[in-house]
Amino acid sequence: MADGGPRMTIPTQLVLRALLEDPTRELYGVEIGTAAGLPSGTIHPILARLEGLRWLESRWEDIDPRAEGRPARRYYRLTATGVESARAALARAYRPSPVARMRPATEPT
């Protein structure tokens, strides 16, 4: 991997930033979407990818569905490794501006 780190997609960065605000707090999908400012229902691919990489862990909410009147939610939280990796990746995240992306690469003389 290059020293400067790879580019991260903007939604991934937003999700990671939202989770890093309080790494110990568990959030379910809709809450993460709201905290990240992303439309609800669109963040599960990001969560799945992060979970597959062990950056995130998830568990079912421990409730009595009859008493609560709703099914248990799936709660997500950054792992210890995930906190470190996410901070490092966000620090290295680079995304050129649209203008810069359209400009041809030039070499210094």
Binding site: A2, P71, P96, E107
Partner: protein, 131 residues
Amino acid sequence: MSAPPGSLCCRTVELAVRVLPAEHRQRYGLEFIAELYGMPKAQQRRHSARVLTSAWALRAALSETAPGVNGEIAVTTIHKPLTCRLNLHHRWRWLSTEDGDRFERCQKCGKDRSEKVGGSPEAGLGIGPSF
């Protein structure tokens, strides 16, 4: 007591999870339905529609993160262009490190120009800029 989701939303979620690998269907089906509880009806419809439209992306995410894959690569490099994979063409851009050193990196795949995997740029097909 939270409002249960409507039947249309449940069917939409059901359709979405059918796209997923079989071992993940139950988990995500329960997760999506649970998220619909407590939402206003209009939001339930929007949410379930978005779940449906992102189902293929979720399937891809579930398939691509096999154990042992380098985390940052899988998280941040979703699609690597074929020309980059074959080392035929990169879109080089000059960047600076924190201590001021200059280096070139491909804007499309993140490869550094110093990494000469599969031959030097001069020995390639001559599509990209050469030194």
